[in-house]
């Protein structure tokens, strides 16, 4: 593993504010973290700013959004001052993103093959034929049988699990250094979820990529990721190695853990989280 | 000081979401809607224009400077002046006053058509959408037949069949306006028909009428209101078109389309006879369009 010292991504004091009629609190406030060639999970309740953080890294938020950071470096390069053009070169090429629901995140009127190849053509200036080859290759890598046939299908003709694999192949075809996956499996069934995660896991480690895995499923993050960031109210309240999640010290994290019904360790009553406004300030 | 204090209190009462009575809940809804609406200057402009026009129509006897029917052949075709603000027509009548009284005709047609079409479209659309099956097929076939004609052509054919006159024009226009409304209501009904809250009510024992009128109608209402407002503009244009072709209001009652048509004969010497009523039609129709767009922005966020 080369270059563990300088992380792939380094974020300091990231703050994101959406324009609004009322003067509102920022959606993400002073967030600090690093991502290396590892799997980092972000968990937190709905609205805690997980997706916003992920999108801010790729500068995919609406134009009027205000993003500030003391540092927002990707492979040593400051992201925020980059020109749009340069940013587009990075997106999809060295930093990619997988979205939640393949039903909505794939273009319904383009064939699957066309959509995957598009990325390759765009960033690697491949010919159509070469892009096609790469697409087939990629589809095989995500364990799709009959890739030839699947390439010609439209998104509504494939199942959710397959759609998510297509999404993965579309984003990984250029072998990016960092992938941001925003709840990539929460629209999927349990059985399919396992497969998709396995594929993602396999590709990430095979290509030595970094993965930022956004989810609200504690069990999943705990078992899938190396490290976990816990967000609350736009802040990262705690950061832990995944294996030590049980030993979390922050009351919010603890609350989440205790609120979770568990199959193996049944509780008569679930603990209810008592929110403390001070957590968001800290 | 106490005034502002009081109004401050009212504002708080209106904005406070912790309601203590249904009246406050409704007042709050209305006030918030108004706040959003008034943030849109164009829509506000449309509303103000429509209100002014309605006032002018209502107070026509006071707003007009002349009797709209008073002829004076010696003073025919005079250009706009201090005495006749918009000039006089071929019979020496005051164009400004005819315009003011004509607002009544225009609004009368637009409102009457809307009042006829709203409930009809509602009942037919909601019945087709909610009851479904056989009723849906029959009702939608009928709607299709009417929709197969461009609306002016159909209105033209009907008002020719019924004979000229405002009431007949109203009927003819109404016949062309209801199908899209019914379609809209049907489409909306279909989206709500399977909604969980409707199913919940069904499972608790609500009857068809109850579901239609207490559950579905209030939800279709905003888009129907928007549609009807925007329709006002097209009704006014259709009515003017009929008037223009001589099928709308009959003389001497002032109707803008007919005024513009009649004025066309004197176009070269008296442009104001055509230009001014036409401009009036444009402005009213514009105002209703702006108003409708504004309402859509606030009532129907999915179409923003």
């Amino acid at each position: 593993m080369p270059d563990q010292a300088t992380p792939l991504l380094s974020v300091r004091n990231l703050t994101v504010t959406f324009p609004s009629l009322h003067a509102s609190a920022p959606a993400v406030r002073g967030v600090n973290f690093d991502v290396g060639r590892e799997k980092v999970g972000i968990i937190g309740e709905s609205g805690s700013g997980k997706s916003t953080t992920g999108r801010a890294l790729m500068r995919l938020l609406p134009k009027a959004t205000r993003i500030t950071a003391d540092r927002l470096q990707f492979r040593g390069e400051e992201i925020l001052p980059l020109s749009d053009r340069r940013m587009r070169e990075i997106r999809g090429h060295s930093m990619a993103m997988i979205l939640q629901d393949p039903k909505y995140s794939l273009n319904p009127v383009m064939t699957v093959g066309e959509q995957i190849a598009e990325t390759a053509i765009l960033h690697e200036k491949l010919s159509r034929r070469a892009a096609r080859e790469r697409t087939l290759e990629m589809l095989e890598k995500v364990h799709i049988r009959e890739p030839e046939r699947v390439m010609g299908l439209y998104p509504h003709e494939v199942s959710g699990g397959m759609g998510q694999r297509i999404m993965i192949s579309m984003m990984l075809i250029t072998r990016p250094a960092l992938i941001i996956a925003d709840e990539p499996t929460s629209a999927l069934d349990v059985s399919v979820r396992q497969q998709v995660l396995a594929i993602l896991d396999e590709l990430v480690s095979a290509n030595n990529m970094g993965l930022l895995f956004i989810s609200h499923d504690l069990n999943l993050v705990r078992s899938f990721c190396d490290r976990v960031l816990i967000m609350f109210g736009g802040r990262i309240v705690e950061e832990l190695p995944a294996s030590q999640l049980e030993q979390a010290s922050h009351p919010y994290t603890r609350g989440l853990l205790e609120a979770l019904p568990s199959l193996l360790h049944p509780k008569d009553r679930l603990a209810v989280l008592r929110r403390d406004p001070a957590w968001a300030e800290g | 000081m106490s005034m502002t204090h009081k109004s401050q209190g009212l504002r708080d009462w209106l904005l406070n979401e912790d309601f203590s009575s249904p009246a406050q809940a409704r007042a709050h809804q209305a006030y918030v809607t108004w706040l959003r609406f008034s943030a849109n200057p164009l829509a506000l402009g449309g509303l103000v224009f429509v209100i002014l026009l309605s006032l002018a129509a209502w107070l026509a006897p006071f707003v007009a400077t002349h009797d709209p029917l008073q002829q004076d052949l010696a003073r025919a075709l005079l250009p706009p002046s201090g005495q006749n603000w918009f000039g006089t027509d071929e019979l020496g009548r005051d164009v400004y006053s005819r315009l003011v009284w004509g607002a009544r005709t225009t609004l009368y047609i637009a409102i009457l058509v809307t009042v006829i079409v709203g409930p009809i479209g509602f009942v037919i659309g909601a019945a087709a959408g909610y009851v479904g099956g056989w009723a849906d097929t029959v009702l939608m076939r009928i709607t299709d037949i009417f929709l197969a004609f461009p609306s002016l052509v159909l209105a033209l054919a009907f008002s020719a069949a019924l004979g000229p006159g405002i009431e007949n024009a109203v009927i003819a226009i109404a016949l062309t306006v209801w199908p899209p409304v019914a379609r809209l209501v049907r489409a909306e009904t279909l989206t709500f028909r399977k909604a969980d809250f409707v199913v919940a009510a069904e499972l608790q024992g609500a009857g068809v009428l109850r579901i239609m009128f207490r559950y579905i109608v209030p939800l279709c209402a905003p888009s129907v209101v928007i549609r009807l407002t925007l329709n006002m503009a097209s009704i006014i244009l259709t009515a003017a078109g009929l008037g223009f072709l001589g099928l709308g209001a009959q003389p001497p009652s002032p109707e803008w389309g007919a005024m513009a048509a009649q004025g066309r004969q004197y176009l070269l010497d008296a442009w104001w006879l055509t230009a001014i009523p036409g401009m009036a039609i444009l402005l009213v129709s514009l105002a209703f369009n702006l108003l409708g767009d504004g309402l859509r922005d606030i009532l129907d966020p999915k179409h923003a």
Binding site: E45, S46, H143, G160, D189, V190, S191, R193, Q194, Q195, L197, A198, I199, D201, E202, H216, L218, N219, L220, R222, S223, F224, G255, L256, A259, L260, P261, S262, L263, L264, P266, K267, R269, L270, A271, V272, L273 | E17, F19, S20, P22, Q24, A25, Q29, A195, D196, F197, V199, A200, A201, E202, L203, Q204, G205, A206, R210, R214, Y215, P218, L219
Partner: protein
């Protein structure tokens, strides 16, 4: 309390007929909480719909509280006996009715008097402040809405509550509150539950007996303890169980 025999539900006609539920037999005892798990599209909601009276095109026999029900039409008394809570708290409340109105409606439909008191009591039951009566659903959080939906079901004093994934749209912390509430209510009012969920842990938390459904059929009816102890029979049940425990990094599943 609920007895189902050879229930088959199909949609469509002619060549397009699809049998969504096929020959299900099951029985739910009084006061029991019966869980139903299975993958998306396996027919859980449809089965629940048939019990509730929402789905009408079924064959077989359903009896509720010892009374045989017919597919097409149910009497008010039959409808009142079981109530349903839906998955999506945003779609199950009428957006233009106040909370008070939402709770009042069932009372009006059934001609029940003493309405104000009942509404207040229902709100109290689900631990919502009574002043919420005048609010609209959009002014409530997801968890609060789900409470209102439960209150709406409870206001008719049913014997059975049919819960279709009542917490899957909610955050973990809110889910805990709702699950606690459901548990309390059952104990207090002696209700019978049928709970549908994706999440094995949720089902196991509430239910005594758990039925596993696949492609419209019951593959296994098991108990909570069996689930915990991994004493389930069917491989499909086992897979569901493991899925709910988190990610297992073995390459095995990939080639499936």
């Amino acid at each position: 309390m609920i007895a189902i025999e050879n229930l088959t539900i199909s949609f469509g006609r002619g060549s397009k007929t699809s049998h969504v539920v096929r020959g299900i037999d099951m029985a739910v005892n009084k006061g029991e909480c019966f869980g139903l798990v299975g993958e998306s599209g396996c027919g859980k909601s449809t089965l629940l719909g048939a019990i509730a009276g929402r789905v009408k095109n079924w064959q077989g026999a359903i009896s509720i509280a010892g009374e045989q029900v017919r597919p097409e039409k149910r009497s008010h008394a039959q409808l009142r006996r079981q109530q349903m809570v839906f998955q999506d708290p945003f779609g199950s409340l009428h957006p233009r009715h106040t909370i008070g109105r939402i709770l009042l409606e069932p009372l009006v439909m059934h001609g029940i008097g003493d309405r104000d008191a009942r509404v207040e009591k229902a709100l109290e039951q689900v631990s919502l402040p009574t002043r919420f009566r005048f609010r609209y659903p959009h002014q409530l959080s997801g968890g609060q809405r789900q409470r209102v939906a439960i209150a709406r079901a409870l206001i008719l004093e049913p014997e059975i509550l049919l819960l279709d994934e009542p917490t899957s749209a909610l955050d973990v912390s809110i889910q805990a509150e709702i699950l606690n509430l459901l548990k309390d209510l059952r104990e207090r009012a002696g209700l019978t539950y049928v709970l549908v969920s994706h999440d094995m842990a949720v089902v196991a938390h509430l239910c005594d007996r758990i039925a596993v459904m696949k492609d419209g059929q019951l593959v296994e009816i098991s108990t909570r303890q069996a689930m915990i102890d991994n004493e389930v029979q069917h491989p499909y049940t086992r897979m569901l169980r493991e899925g709910s425990l988190g990610y297992r990094p073995q390459g095995a599943a990939i080639t499936a």
